[in-house]
């Protein structure tokens, strides 16, 4: 640091710091600091001018004190003064102080900006660099506002020094990251791209970071960078390590730049131009070749730099996914790394291979490493590496090796870390399902899974087993036999009991022929587990028992006995009690025929996305796996297994990935199939298993759905409902209006009729008329669904002081709105005195059992009570002058939101309710209006003047709006309302 170099060292500062370091206690330190602060204060008092050196010294001390954790509330001015010094060290300390201590809302910001501006326009490169660093370090919005236009100019100017360009590029990057809206694209963008050709490697490195960031946002504008990047890359790759001198790092030419170039190329698809592409492929091949060469140095930095480029190149190859040759070579290279002694390398290799496995060209090549990966899963010491190995196994699995991989994963599961067990379970379950050739293997696998890691088997997994068993006739018998055997183990997991209960309940008859598994034996086996289970499982078992009664009439008396026992029929749990009572009655009253119909075997489930897959996706987030799955789906589209299962999966997965979630879809069906009982529960995953049962059956098992997953939760927390309306409808708090209600309000400032609100369920139209201080408003509530809304109520409230300003009366509405019907409500409004808030309209109704609650602002604004007043030019200006008190006037200058069309403006002003006065203002461009606001308490005369300026500075269209009225609150409110309109 030159600031404390010997010649220019600040002795006072050094002494002070060593004093502080020598302090024996905190108290002593505080004393020393207080003393120093007092000293600095007396020096800064301003009696005598300080020279630059001492100013710098004291500012430095202040900075040090601040960094020790004390508050500094003075000295900012001195620091700003330092900025205008001509000495580098003084300027530097000034900038340092400012970037550390000055916050953006300080009054000094103008002075600082000015100083920065001066430095930017100076010809001194070091000063320019300092200024740029300061801008980047502070990086606030204000800074961006002030300099976002200036920096690109510096960046692309021909005569800027290289070091300045470097700083400017990074500074611009920082500003772009903090406030992208302020960094406007312009003609400089094309010139920035050409910085890739710059002689100076530093400039290229800095510029490429900027370009990468920019091109991620606007890929089209920077398309030209591809060919430049490729040629730059090829020059680096093909250069001898000595060519680049300063930019050679441990014999690797410009590793950072290479990585950045490769990363930039990953923003774009493969180049179309054959020559460019050929060159790029050549580069990538060279990089792969270099990896094979013996290392030029034993230093770790050398191999790190080399590998960094290699991995970046491999991810580019994977990104392109079009060069089979390269992909295979990359895969082989990674295969070598799998056995490297460096753990990090192994980790990276596994991770990259995971993506490689999803490419059709390299899938086979990846598969050759299966033994190594399995070995890694077993022997790696680091859990994160093992995790990657498991991921890779999952990714490389296909029908040919599924059995091996699943077996390996199962055996690993027994010793796996707790943190990854659940994920492993899901993966095993998915693989077993996806690649099952014979379903007995599948059933075996899943039951094994439950046995080994029962605690980690989520609901979805066993739902899926049942789904598959029910849908496939050929496996049912085997499944029943296997679960029966599994249940015979002295201790079995609750999930096993669940699966066993369900399957025996459905298909117990298939194995009843064997005397070893006669109906009574089956029942006794199940019932022996009953007492050890939780309530939901017990409920499920009760349902299985009633099914038993249907399947095996001979067990009826035994089962009835069980149901009748106090522990069931008087169970403290309501659910169990109800089931026991209902099943008991059902079994004793209903005839065999009725019983057979009611307790019929479950019909096949509709095919939909595997709920397990969804769960895994949710666990992983919208990251690698879902993309992986998608590609997987595409690739394997042909070879489906079991009843078109797979195709369905991928289709849904695809639609899933392309934003609208299944639940949003379902709500979106406005005119589609009738939204019956199945719809509201569609959001819960349980539907996969049980929803059909709900429709067809009397409700057997339907109530298995945990009560929490009712339709409310669908609306409230649908996994992908990022799209506006439905989620916000269910705002629990009635007092807070919808976030967009203010906008809705603004829409109605200049008009009286229109649609106030619309979502997928409901549309609210509005029609209003006003006379003097009275108004009447008609609200039309339209039901857009085919289901009726019940308990429909609306209430209009005036929050806060509005109560005394506005008198609102509403007539009640019909509590029931049929599907597709519309009801009307009349609201009478009386304006007592001027007001600024708007009354709130709260709407509550039940739709398909779910309570909907929404709050809007009624578009009643002060200007509705305007009475237009015509007057001549002379009169107007006389009154204008009368209203000259400063608080009577409200003025606003704002940007135009819409195009400046005279006719539209006129229409809007007329809609406002004032009289538009022609030929009053000497400038025909301007608009003047006059009107009187009628309230019960008083009349408020108001005058308005709107001055459009089509060519204001920076080419934007601006307005100046001036409102004068006899009451200050009215002027202010009118001004606020109108500013949003133009």
């Amino acid at each position: 640091m030159p600031a404390v170099s010997k010649g220019d060292g600040m002795r006072g500062l050094a002494v002070f710091i060593s004093d502080i370091r020598n302090c024996k206690s905190k108290e002593a330190e505080i004393k020393r600091i207080n003393k120093e602060l007092a000293n600095i204060r007396s020096k800064f008092k301003g009696d005598k001018a300080l020279d630059g050196y001492s100013k710098k010294k004291y500012v430095c001390k202040l900075l040090f004190i601040f960094l020790l954790g004390h508050d500094i509330d003075f000295g900012h001015m001195e620091a700003v003064n330092l900025l205008s010094s001509n000495k580098y060290t003084e300027k530097q300390i000034g900038y340092l102080f400012i970037s550390v201590l000055v916050n953006s809302n300080s009054e000094l910001i103008r002075l600082i900006n000015n100083a920065i501006k001066n430095d930017l326009s100076s010809r001194n490169p070091t000063f320019m660099c300092l200024a740029l660093h300061c801008i980047a370090n502070v990086g606030s919005r204000e800074m961006a506002e002030a300099f976002a236009g200036e920096i690109p100019r510096i960046l692309v100017a021909g005569d800027t020094m290289d070091s300045v360009k470097q700083s400017a590029a990074l500074c611009l990057l920082r500003l772009y990251k903090t406030s992208p809206d302020l960094v406007l694209m312009g003609e400089w963008t094309s010139r920035v791209v050409h910085l890739l050709n710059d002689q100076h490697m530093g400039v290229v490195t800095a510029a490429i970071s900027l370009i990468t960031c920019l091109s991620q946002k606007n890929p089209d504008e920077f398309k030209t960078c591809v060919s430049l990047a490729v040629s730059r890359l090829s020059r680096i790759v093909s250069s001898a390590s000595t060519d680049l001198q300063d930019y050679t790092y441990y014999f690797v030419p410009a590793p950072w730049l290479s990585c950045k170039l490769l990363r930039l190329l990953q923003c774009y698809p493969p180049p179309e131009d054959g020559a460019v592409k050929g060159r790029l492929v050549e580069c990538l091949e060279t990089i792969l070749n270099k990896a094979q060469e013996p290392p030029k140095s034993k230093k770790v930095q050398h191999s790190n730099a080399k590998n960094a480029i290699l991995f970046e190149a491999i991810s580019l190859i994977i990104h392109y996914d079009s060069e089979p040759n390269l992909l295979v070579r990359a895969c082989n290279q990674l295969g070598q790394f799998l056995q490297h002694r460096e753990t990090n390398l192994r980790y990276l290799a596994l991770e990259s291979m995971c993506t490689l496995a999803s490419s059709e060209f390299s899938h086979e090549a990846v598969k050759t490493h299966i033994e190594t990966v399995i070995n890694a899963l077993k022997t790696e010491r680091d859990v994160s590496v093992r995790q990657r190995a498991a991921d890779l196994l999952y990714a490389m699995c296909d029908r040919s090796n599924a059995k091996q991989i699943v077996a390996e994963m199962l055996s690993y599961l027994e010793t796996a870390d707790y943190s990854i067990r659940e994920e492993m379970v899901l993966k095993v379950a998915i693989l077993a399902e996806k690649y099952a050739v014979d379903y007995s293997w599948y059933v075996d696998t899943i039951l094994n899974l439950i046995r080994i890691a029962g605690d980690y088997v989520s609901e979805e997994v066993w739902y899926r087993v049942i789904q598959i068993v029910i849908n496939r006739d050929d496996v049912q018998g085997y499944a029943a036999k296997t679960v029966f055997e599994a249940l015979q183990a002295p201790a079995c997991h609750e999930n096993m009991v669940k699966v066993g209960g369900y399957i025996l309940g459905e298909f117990g008859n298939l194995i009843a022929g064997d005397p070893r598994s006669s109906p009574l034996v089956q029942f006794n086996l199940l019932h022996s587990k009953f007492h050890l289970c939780s309530v939901p499982t017990r409920a499920l078992l009760l349902s299985a028992y009633i099914k038993f009664i249907n399947l095996f009439p001979e067990t009826k008396s035994t089962i009835q006995e069980v149901l009748r026992s106090d522990s069931q029929i008087r169970n403290s749990d309501v659910e169990l009690q109800q089931r026991a009572v209902e099943y008991l009655k059902l079994s004793s009253i209903a005839s065999t025929d009725v019983l057979a119909t009611v307790l019929e075997e479950m019909p096949p489930f509709p095919e939909r996305e595997s709920s397990i897959l969804a769960k895994l996706k949710k666990k992983k987030g919208p990251g690698a796996v879902s993309v992986n799955e998608l590609e997987e789906g595409k690739r394997e589209g042909g070879e489906l297994n079991g009843g078109g299962e797979r195709g369905d999966n991928s289709a849904i997965a695809a639609s899933n990935a392309s934003t609208p979630s299944p639940s949003a879809d379902l709500l979106g069906l406005r005119t589609g199939p009738p939204v019956t009982a199945a719809a509201p529960s569609a959001g819960s995953l349980l539907v996969d298993v049980f929803s059909e049962a709900g429709v067809n059956d009397d409700g057997f098992l339907r109530d298995l759905e945990p009560p929490t997953e009712s339709s409310d939760s669908l609306l409230a927390e649908g996994p992908g409902d990022s799209d506006s309306a439905p989620p916000s409808v269910v705002s629990e708090d009635p007092a807070t209006p919808l976030p967009e209600s203010n906008e809705l309000l603004n829409k109605f400032v200049c008009k009286n009729n229109g649609v106030l609100f619309e979502n997928q369920l409901l549309q609210i139209g509005i029609k209003s008329e006003y006379r003097q201080n009275l108004g009447r408003m008609y609200l039309f509530y339209g039901n857009k669904t085919s289901v009726q809304f019940i308990t429909f109520t609306t209430t209009v409230t005036c929050p806060g002081e509005l109560q005394s300003q506005l008198n609102v009366q509403s007539k009640p509405v019909e509590p029931l709105i049929e599907g597709g019907a519309q009801v009307q409500q009349v609201i009478n409004i009386e304006c007592l005195t001027d007001f600024s808030d708007a009354p709130l309209l709260n709407i509550k109704f039940r739709y398909g059992g779910a309570l909907q609650n929404l709050t809007l602002k009624l578009p009643v604004t002060i200007n509705k009570f305007f009475q237009p007043t015509e007057m001549a030019s002379h009169d107007f200006f006389q009154r204008w002058k009368q209203l000259s008190l400063p608080q009577q006037e409200a003025q606003k200058i704002f940007k135009a939101n819409h195009a400046m069309d005279t006719e539209v403006l006129k229409a809007k002003l007329l809609g406002l309710g004032m009289a538009l006065l022609e030929n009053v203002d000497p400038n025909p461009e301007n608009f003047v209006c006059a009107g009187v606001i009628q309230t019960k308490a008083q009349q408020v005369g108001s005058l308005l003047r709107l001055e459009p300026n089509a060519q204001a500075q920076s080419g934007e269209q601006m307005y100046r709006l001036t409102v004068r009225s006899s009451k200050d609150t009215v002027s202010k409110r009118l001004c606020e309302l109108l500013a949003e309109q133009f």
Binding site: K24, A38, K45, D73
Partner: protein, 436 residues
């Protein structure tokens, strides 16, 4: 019960570590250092709970004493013990400092073994301890077997704090009433809170096993006497007696007798000890009145005028008077004018310190200062901390008077009249603040 005891220096390095129970591990030492000594906040709670372990600490200059326990102990007992331990150490080697602790660490371990046993406090009477934990070599003070057995019987006996067979040529007795008066006063002179905490410290050089009785103007005792004997005017007795809010005694005082008759009788230890501690809140004599006058002249100037008035008999002299006037944090210069004493702006403490050596009663003195301020850019207003004062006066601000101290020794032939008694009152300032 106390599980362990640690002594740290200001950096948090452990000087003494004595663990009494197995539930306290080595990591407790670090836990206290990390969470308390190196804590960021300025104000630390004396009791800290870290991972189900309680740490009680006191700080003496730069030294931290911490008692550690995992059990639910009586916190007051632990602090009493810590204070006692400080007293014992002071009695043995003077000021508690890092240097002294390092030089005497063997002695400290010896003491800790004696005064705490398996975490239970034992005899911590300095006089008694000094008989068998000595600082000189055994040679210098040859102890006979007889003496040694005497020590055992004494320490384990009923009167553990005094050994038998003490003989003085001159029976002498010194009694100090030490009080510290605490006050918070509003700028208008209204007392917001005030209390006196006092101690009666004795130094006794008496032969044999004397029985002492101490009497003071305790309101309850005076009123009872008044009722029993001649009926005094209530107003008169109110003036002379004081209401003691609460008090604690040295272990030698017979508490049963105090409870029943409210008389303080005891067999005193030899040498110096603290007979009692007490606290009063009513009818406190405030030795000084501070009248502040602060005027802000614009944004860059502040004028301060402070008058102090002494409020006691003109014949008495207050000593070591120090008035501390806080200055704003953006002070850039100070000019002080005072009639009496010396005043100086101490930047390191952000205060003007005004010192007066002596001042008689019913006098007044004043200081005026002009403070220049540096304009700052944040609008934070100065919090105006209170003006504080330090002093020493030769009377007890609580109004406590020693009525008698009788000494009876039946076996030896000296009577109460033969004992030379010295009584002294010292009133000091505690936190004596006036808001401005």
């Amino acid at each position: 019960m106390i599980g362990g005891l640690f002594i740290y220096n200001h950096k948090g390095e452990v000087l003494i570590s004595r663990v009494y129970r197995d539930d306290i591990g080595r990591n407790a030492v670090d836990a206290f250092r990390v969470n308390v000594i190196h804590a960021r906040q300025q104000v630390r709670s004396p009791v800290t709970n870290i991972a189900r372990t309680s740490f009680f600490h006191v700080k003496r200059s730069n030294i931290w004493l911490a008692a550690v326990t995992k059990q639910n102990v009586n916190a007051a007992m632990v602090f009493e013990f810590l204070y006692k331990m400080c007293d014992v150490m002071t009695a043995y080697f003077g000021k508690i400092s890092e240097e002294n602790i390092k030089n005497n660490f063997v002695l400290i371990y010896e003491l800790l073994d004696e005064i705490l046993d398996f975490g239970y406090p034992q005899n911590s009477e300095t006089g008694a301890l000094k008989t068998f934990i000595t600082q000189q070599g055994i040679k210098g003070q040859p102890q006979t077997k007889e003496e040694q057995s005497q020590i055992t019987s004494q320490v384990t006996g009923q009167i553990g704090w005094r050994r038998e067979g003490i003989k003085y040529r001159r029976n002498e007795l010194f009694l100090d009433v030490l009080e510290s008066v605490n006050l918070l006063m509003s700028p208008q002179g209204q007392v917001l809170s005030a209390h006196v905490s006092g101690r009666v410290v004795m130094k006794s050089y008496l032969s044999g096993m004397p029985e002492c009785k101490f009497g003071m103007n305790d309101k309850i005792v005076i009123d009872k006497q008044g009722k029993g004997g001649t009926t005094d005017e209530p107003g008169k007795s109110g003036k002379q007696s004081i209401a003691i809010d609460d008090c604690t005694f040295h272990q030698c005082v017979r508490l049963s007798k105090f409870d029943s008759e409210r008389s303080i009788s005891f067999i005193p230890p030899d040498g110096e000890y603290e007979l009692m501690r007490y606290r009063t809140t009513k009818d406190i004599i405030l030795p000084f009145r501070v009248i502040p006058l602060v005027r802000e002249v614009g944004r860059t100037k502040l004028e301060v005028k402070v008058v102090i008035k002494s409020n006691f008999k003109p014949s008495l002299l207050a000593q070591k008077i120090e008035v501390r006037i806080p200055t704003p944090l953006n002070t850039s210069g100070v000019q002080v004018i005072c009639m009496k004493g010396k005043a100086k702006y101490k930047a390191s403490e952000n205060a003007i310190v005004w010192k007066i050596k002596r001042m008689a009663g019913m006098k007044e003195s004043q200081i005026s200062a002009e403070i220049e301020l540096l304009p700052t850019n944040d609008k934070k207003k100065w919090a105006r901390p209170p003006i504080s004062m330090n002093f020493e006066v030769p009377f007890a601000p609580s109004g406590l008077k020693v009525r008698y101290l009788k000494v009876f020794e039946s076996k030896l032939n000296y009577s109460d009249h033969d004992v030379i008694k010295w009584v002294r009152y010292i009133g000091r300032s505690g936190i004596y603040e006036t808001r401005c």
